[in-house]
Assembly symmetry: C2
Homo-oligomer: 139 residues x 2
Amino acid sequence: MSVRSTRTSTKNTLYMKFPILFCFLFLFIALSEGKHEVKHMLLAKLKQGISEDEIEGYIKQYANLVNLVPSMKAFAWGKDVSIENLNDGFTHVFESTFASTQGIAEYLSDPDHVAFANTLLPQLDKVLVVDYMPTKVKL
Amino acid sequence: MSVRSTRTSTKNTLYMKFPILFCFLFLFIALSEGKHEVKHMLLAKLKQGISEDEIEGYIKQYANLVNLVPSMKAFAWGKDVSIENLNDGFTHVFESTFASTQGIAEYLSDPDHVAFANTLLPQLDKVLVVDYMPTKVKL
């Protein structure tokens, strides 16, 4: 048996000995990934007369900022589906995730974001932005 | 060896044979848990003069709804930290998670939620609510 295969065998044995420990370690890493994050929420009221295809195009451009702006970690969006009539006319929610408020500041001044903002904002009747660090409550 | 211990041993063998498979299965379940969720976002502008202790009390009551309303799956909150001056005066974000819009409807009519809403709303200068299903974009 070569030195190399002996080492591999030792590793495998360690791994095989504690599979539950490894599972929890992976789970912990995966779940704690979003712990120190800041959400950048943009609420938009889209102008009347913009087609669904056009809206889809804008959303794809927005989502593509994740590939262009290094500090932007994730993007999701959704139509407002609330039934309480407290949405103040906002029709869409855009949720971007950053590791810090510094990351949001970098995003705001990034040329790719600025170019997209100049494309999107004229399509909106109004816009509202809040940033917050989602915090769990210990009861 | 009893029948019981033979069965246990077979299970363990299966588990030990495919630890990586099990890890990925656990990871998949853990990460996909939030896939079909609806976010209920409440933006609030708190009235001047409410102390930090009082605010903490309201937030704890809000968070405790997770223990009282069966359809409410998670709660997080954060102060607005945005720097764009587009927050329209909103100071706090409260993020509740549900499995469906039906779950939000159940929450809205739940007596524990109604009682808390009657406590919180008089403390607010204004409120805005949007619900949305966070959707990823395939590029």
